[in-house]
Structures are given as structure tokens and as C-alpha cells.
């Protein structure tokens, strides 16, 4: 105890008695303190004769308040919420754990996971049941206990409500589980279907031959793994198929329904797995061969083979179509040739060189060096035909009308492009060509310089096509009728709601239930004429800091004429009245009346 000074005599000799809890001055004998609060541990006797310490354990992160201080007679009551949640969680974990026959170590680990999840706030926004089930599943995975997600989805909740099995959706559970594993940085090892076999075999009750059937099923499963049937599939489905075959091999008549009830997949899945297994070469072996021999060959994953099959079928169809279209192409080729001969003006001499650039642009034909225009023409025709062929093959399925249009536009294109050639220089022609081509064929170009100011760039948008998107008046009427009929129920609801609101408004009961934006405090609006006034009023309402003396601040604003120089002088004096010091600090620089006399140093100090 620190030696204090006695109030009566000023003596420093003070005797503190811990047992009696007194502090007495030795000089004058006056009692300075009694009933000193000590920090010691006290013991009391328990029923069986032992002794226990008095007091409660309080968690480090607990809140200070203890509602049962002084009157609590039942220690379970009045604990803070976190402890209650943990207790509740522990209870539920134990219940579910016993249902699934997990040992105590697993349950403890699960509870620890739950505590970690609470600390990281993973329980917020999720149902407690989900989080608990995910914790338990995590434990099972890390321990390697063979449990699928299915049993976790039937969880009976221990609430004040009467017991009912809460069916948790497996995918919801899975999502929670994944989030948990990620946040807690726990790597759950991938589940191996082989682990499930003993469990399911036991549930199918094979009696004495249980072990043999399990071994066969395991062998089958390994074979399936080699044949790439197991990646991406639910392990329970594979187990079901393996067990079914193994049971039949050992002359147990287990129907599909029995297997389904144990393994919890649907019939279609099971059948599919069996079919896939049938496709593998292993299925051709007899039982004895299978037990002895292990085929080296590994199959492709079944989804891959299915995909290949589909592709092959599609190709066959396409080939048929190509054959049909080829015939049509030949017809068009003849037509084009005729048109070209008619429409093209014959060029000779100097203009032949200009015409060369035309070919380069159109037909990817760089090696043309024929001086004669007619020979070049033939080359061009061939290239055109090839190009058209290519186009057709690409656009087979998507409408042949488009192609026909394109082809017909090509012959007239020859005319204008050559006309532009004859006039300007070749450089201009090469620039002009792409534009004319694109215009005629009807391609649409993109412009980069738009959307900066939000204006809609109409370049390249075909207005006529858009007109098609808008109905005319008659159609509008028809559609309105249809729509009203379809949405009658919804419209009725809306009407009723409107009526209800109107009635309530009349009666004055109407409570506008707008979604509350939490955090916005309702304050009276501030009416002020100048900025200073506004700041003043705002500061009044919203006390920003408890350390600022706002009254002095106000005085500053009210008397702007008094120069801050005497105020700074006062603060420099070092007298400790806090108000003056504060004025020095919170002096507003705007209040300094600028004159030639004020030293620049005062202006600099802000």
C-alpha cells in the first residue's frame, strides 16, 4: 500500500491490516480507511468436505455487467450471450453426434471448430443448425470417418419448439462447409469412396460373407477408378453400384430399392453407373477372371466418350448438308460468271495496273501478274467462287437467304469500285475500297468516339430493323388485353393494396412503412444565414468532441474584430486555464485582419 499522508496529523506512518481491512495512522490513531477491498482468493467448504474457491470464472472477452450480482442463486442464469450460445451449440453437437455414433473426441473437435467459427464471425447470417452440421462434417472429413453429407441433412433441432427434423439442403450445407474450411484454413482431404464400403455393407446385412462382399466391392471400385468413372461423381453412387454387383456375384439378392435406401442416391443414377460399367471391357470378364486378372487398359471418362459420340453424329449431319449445298453452289457459280461478264467494263493499258489493287483487296490473290484483264477476270472468278464456298460452309445452319443476298450484291459491287478507281489515285482507291465494300454488303462498323458524355451513338444501328421491334397500334391493343388478362391476379393485389393505403390515410392511421436505413439519425434541419452560423449550429447539435470547449469557440466567431495577437500573447504566458490555451490552438486563421503590420509568422501559424 502506498504510504499516504494522514489528514489529521500529517504523519506518514500508516498501518494497513489486511485481515481486518483497516488503515490506521500510527501517529494520531485516526482510522483512514476501513473495509478495504482486497484482491485475494477466498475458500469455502463444499458439501463433501473439500474446499473450493469462491467466485466465478469470467471470460477475457466478457462484458463487464453481471446482472445477478448479489442475488444469484442459480449459476446458469444470467450468463452473457456468447457463453449461452456456446452452451447451446455444445448441446446440439452432442445430440447429433450421438445419433451418428461419433466418439467424444470428434465431438470435442467439432465444438472447437464451432468456437473458432464464432470468433471469426462465420455464424452471422447463417442458421446455427447449418454451422453446427458443417462443423461436424468437417470433423468427419479430417478424421476420415466415413460419413456422407446425407445424414447431416436430417438434423433434429433441439429448440423450445417440439422436435422436428430440420431438413438441411445438402448444397446449403456444402456451401457452409466450404466457407468454414476456407476461413479456418483447414484442408479437408478428398473423400475416397472405398471408405464408405464397409459402412454400407454393414447396413446391407450380408451376415457372414460381409467381409468377402466388401472385398469384392472394393476391387470393383478400384477398377472403376482406373476406368475413370469416379472423378466428378458422388462417391455414394459408385459405392451403390459396386455393392450391387458384388452382392449379385456372391448370390445375394439385393434389389435396387434396398441399395437406394442405404446409399441415398436415386434409381436413375444407379442405373447410369451400371451402364457405364457395362461399357468398360472389364464387364466382359467372368467372376473368377475378374478376381484374378487386372486389365491394364484404362478407359476414358464416360462423359468424354458421350461427348465424342455426339460430335460424331453432328459431323455426319453436317456432311450430308454440305453435299446438298455443294450442288446449289455450282448453280450460283454459273449465274455469277454470266453476270460478271456482262457488268464488267473491259480495261486495258494503264488502268490495268489500277485494277490490280482491286484484286488484292478482294481476293487475297497477291501473285497475280497477268497483264491481260480477261485472264485476270477468270482468276478472280475462281477466287470469288472459293471465297463463297468458304462462306457457305461456315454459315450452313444459319439461313441460306443471307448468303444468297450476299452473293447477289457482289456482282453489282464490281461496278462502283472500279468507277472509284478510274477517278482518283490508287492510294485513295485503296482507302475508298473497304468503305464501299462494307456499305454494299451491309456490315456494320463500330465507332470509338462515343459514350463519353452519354450521348447515344447511332452509327451502325439500322433504324429499319429497330422499327420492327416496335408494335403498331392495333398490335399494342391486342397485347394490352392479353397482358392484362395474364397478370390479373397481380393487378388485383396492387389495387387492393392501394385501396388499403388510401383508407388508412383517411383514417389517419397510415404508417408509411418504408425500409429503414439504419444509421441515419433524424435531426432537425439547420436554418442559417451564413456559413459560420451553420457551423455553429451544427457543432451545437452534434457534439464532436468532449475535449473542446465550444463556448470559447463561439466567442471567437462572435468577435471577429478583436485581433488574435493579444490572445496568442496570453497563451504564450503559459498560464494553465484551459480555455485560453484552447483559443490559441483553435484560432481561426480567417479571423486575422490582414494589415501590413501583421508579421508573416502569425499568418503561417495555423
Amino acid at each position: 500500500m502506498s504510504s499516504r499522508v494522514c489528514k489529521n496529523c500529517g504523519g506518514t506512518d500508516i498501518d494497513v491490516d489486511q485481515a481486518r481491512g483497516d488503515a490506521v495512522c500510527m501517529g494520531c490513531g485516526s482510522v483512514l480507511e476501513d473495509n478495504i477491498i482486497v484482491s485475494e482468493v477466498q475458500f469455502m467448504e463444499t458439501g463433501g468436505g473439500g474446499s473450493s474457491a469462491v467466485g466465478q470464472f469470467v471470460a477475457g472477452d466478457a462484458s463487464g455487467r453481471n446482472p445477478t450480482f448479489g442475488e444469484g442463486f442459480y449459476t446458469g442464469v444470467g450468463r452473457e450471450s456468447r457463453a449461452q450460445t456456446l452452451q447451446n451449440g455444445r448441446r446440439q453437437i452432442n445430440t447429433l453426434g450421438h445419433q451418428l455414433q461419433l466418439n467424444q473426441h470428434c465431438l470435442d473437435t467439432a465444438f472447437n471448430f464451432y468456437k473458432m467459427a464464432m470468433c471469426k464471425n462465420l455464424t452471422r447470417g447463417r442458421k446455427v443448425v447449418h454451422v453446427l452440421a458443417a462443423c461436424l462434417y468437417l470433423v468427419c472429413r479430417t478424421e476420415g470417418t466415413p460419413l456422407t453429407m446425407a445424414p447431416f441433412s436430417c438434423f433434429s433441432a433441439l429448440n423450445s419448439l417440439p422436435r422436428f427434423p430440420l431438413q438441411v439442403n445438402v448444397y446449403v450445407l456444402g456451401k457452409t462447409f466450404l466457407t468454414l474450411a476456407r476461413e479456418l484454413c483447414i484442408n479437408a482431404p478428398a473423400i475416397d469412396p472405398c471408405l464408405y464400403i464397409p459402412r454400407f455393407a454393414h447396413m446391407l446385412e450380408f451376415g457372414e460373407k460381409n467381409h468377402e462382399v466388401s472385398m469384392t466391392a472394393l476391387r470393383l471400385l478400384q477398377r472403376m477408378k482406373r476406368d475413370w468413372m469416379h472423378t466428378g461423381r458422388r462417391p455414394s453412387g459408385l459405392c451403390g453400384a459396386a455393392l450391387l454387383v458384388a452382392a449379385r456375384m456372391h448370390e445375394f439378392r439385393r434389389t435396387i430399392k434396398e441399395i437406394i435406401s442405404v446409399v441415398k442416391v436415386c434409381e436413375a443414377t444407379l442405373r447410369k453407373r451400371l451402364n457405364e460399367f457395362e461399357d468398360t471391357p472389364t464387364s466382359q470378364l467372368t467372376i473368377e477372371e475378374f478376381m484374378r486378372v487386372d486389365l491394364d487398359q484404362e478407359c476414358d471418362p464416360p462423359s468424354f466418350t458421350d461427348g465424342q459420340r455426339k460430335k460424331r453424329l453432328k459431323l455426319e449431319e453436317l456432311e450430308k448438308k454440305i453435299g446438298e449445298v455443294q450442288g446449289e453452289i455450282h448453280e450460283y457459280q454459273d449465274e455469277i460468271e454470266m453476270e460478271l461478264e456482262q457488268s464488267r467494263p473491259k480495261l486495258r493499258g494503264i488502268y490495268a495496273s489500277y485494277a490490280k489493287t482491286d484484286i488484292d483487296d478482294d481476293d487475297d490473290d497477291d501473285d497475280v501478274s497477268l497483264p491481260d484483264w480477261e485472264e485476270r477476270e477468270e482468276e478472280e472468278l475462281k477466287d470469288v467462287a472459293e471465297h463463297l464456298n468458304r462462306d457457305l460452309c461456315d454459315q450452313l445452319i444459319s439461313g441460306e437467304e443471307e448468303e444468297r443476298e450476299g452473293k447477289e450484291e457482289r456482282p453489282p459491287r464490281r461496278g462502283p469500285s472500279l468507277a472509284s478507281l478510274l477517278g482518283p489515285m490508287p492510294t485513295a482507291a485503296s482507302l475508298g475500297l473497304p468503305e464501299s465494300i462494307s456499305k454494299c454488303i451491309g456490315e456494320e462498323k463500330e465507332n470509338d468516339g462515343d459514350t463519353e458524355n452519354g450521348e447515344l451513338d447511332l452509327n451502325g444501328i439500322d433504324d429499319d430493323e429497330i422499327e420492327l421491334y416496335i408494335l403498331n397500334d392495333k398490335e399494342v391493343k391486342v397485347k394490352t388485353e392479353l397482358w392484362l388478362k395474364q397478370n390479373e391476379d397481380y393487378l388485383k393485389e396492387q389495387k387492393e393494396k392501394q385501396e388499403r393505403i388510401a383508407k388508412e390515410k383517411e383514417l389517419g392511421i397510415y404508417k408509411e412503412r418504408k425500409p429503414k436505413i439504419s444509421g441515419s439519425k433524424k435531426r432537425a434541419p439547420i436554418h442559417a444565414s451564413t456559413a459560420d452560423e451553420a457551423i455553429e449550429k451544427m457543432l451545437e447539435q452534434k457534439k464532436i468532441s468532449t475535449k473542446i470547449n465550444y463556448d470559447i469557440l463561439k466567442e471567437l466567431n462572435v468577435k471577429p474584430s478583436t485581433s488574435p495577437a493579444p490572445q496568442t500573447a496570453e497563451s504564450l504566458k503559459g498560464a494553465t486555464p484551459g480555455a485560453q490555451r484552447l483559443t490559441g490552438r483553435y484560432r481561426k486563421p480567417a479571423n486575422v485582419p490582414l494589415s501590413l503590420g501583421t508579421p508573416l509568422s502569425t499568418l503561417g501559424k495555423r
Partner: protein, 187 residues
């Protein structure tokens, strides 16, 4: 973009999602009654409009926010969005084409080999996760690129990312990792 092998991988973009704002209030009922390919869902408060030329479905809200899905390239998405805005303009609304942004790009890619998913997941924990009970594919999330890749055992990949460049980079990134855990396909 090709990886540094002889094989060229075809990355096919199947879906591009873009958003833009018209900066004006839209009356959904008018659009619903006067548009040709329009579905009005009053309970969700939006109108679905489908365009044919770039195959695009757009969700239109009355606040003027529009989400376009179904395009096969970024340019197509922009074109489709502009067409849509033009259509709305013709219906009488003072639309402006503002804040166009491509939000998501979905692409598929096929590897010439099959992949051992369990090996792959073991090597790449915790970036990769594989839950056969929930989904047949392993999910690989690249945080730096904000891209997600779903890897199937047949060697097909589904890549989603904020733009086309990211998608290409993601495929390049993951190719060597997959190459290690491959299993050659016998065709």
C-alpha cells in the same frame, strides 16, 4: 492467346454480360405493351427484352439500369446494348448511353488430355477445391485476376472473368498446372 506449346487451344467465348444506364426513368408498362419481344415480370419489377440480331437478352429496370446477357463478344455486347438503347429511344424515352461496362465473360476451353482432379486439388490447395458430392468439377479461383476456372475430369474448362483478356490469361496460367496432372485421352 496460345500457350507455349505446339498445341493451340481454342477458347470459345459463350457469354458476355454487360451493364449500362440510360440515365432516365423508364416506364416498364409502356415498354412491355409496345415492344415485340418483351416479357414483363411485375413481381420482380423488370422487363426482359430479347434482340435477334446480336442474340441478346436484356433485363430492364425502371430506374434505367439495364443488364445485357447472351452476347458472344465484347463488341457484340456493346452493339446490342446500343441497339437496345435506340429501341427505347424510339419508344419515346430520353435515353442516354452511359456507363457501359462489361461485367462478366464466360468462356469454355478444351484440353487435349484428361485431368486427375484429386491430384490436381492436392497440389493446389487451397486455391483449388473439389467436392464431388456437390459439383463434378474442381474450382480454381485466381484472386489476382478475379477469375474462376472450373475444371472437369474430361479436360474441359469453364472460365469466368471480368473481361476477355483476363480469361485468356487465366487459361495460360492454369495450363502448366493441368499439364502436370494429365492423363492422356485415348480416342
Amino acid at each position: 492467346m496460345e500457350p507455349s506449346n505446339d498445341v493451340a487451344l481454342d477458347i470459345i467465348i459463350t457469354n458476355v454480360v454487360a451493364v449500362f444506364r440510360t440515365r432516365c426513368h423508364l416506364n416498364l408498362r409502356t415498354i412491355a405493351l409496345e415492344g415485340v419481344n418483351v416479357i414483363y415480370k411485375p413481381e420482380y419489377g423488370k422487363v426482359l427484352m430479347k434482340l435477334r440480331k446480336p442474340r441478346i437478352t436484356a433485363s430492364i429496370w425502371s430506374s434505367g439500369k439495364i443488364i445485357c446477357t447472351g452476347a458472344t463478344s465484347e463488341e457484340e455486347a456493346k452493339q446490342g446494348a446500343r441497339r437496345l438503347a435506340r429501341t427505347l429511344q424510339k419508344l419515346g424515352f430520353k435515353v442516354r448511353f452511359a456507363d457501359f461496362k462489361v461485367v462478366n465473360v464466360l468462356a469454355v476451353c478444351s484440353m487435349p488430355f484428361a485431368i486427375r482432379l484429386i491430384d490436381f486439388t492436392k497440389k493446389n490447395r487451397p486455391i483449388a477445391s473439389y467436392e464431388p458430392e456437390l459439383h463434378p468439377a474442381a474450382t480454381y479461383r485466381i484472386k489476382t485476376l478475379k477469375a474462376t476456372i472450373q475444371i472437369f475430369s474430361t479436360g474441359s474448362l469453364t472460365v469466368t472473368g471480368p473481361n476477355v483478356q483476363t480469361v485468356a490469361t487465366a487459361v495460360e496460367h492454369i495450363y502448366p498446372l493441368l499439364f502436370e496432372c494429365q492423363k492422356p485421352l485415348r480416342k
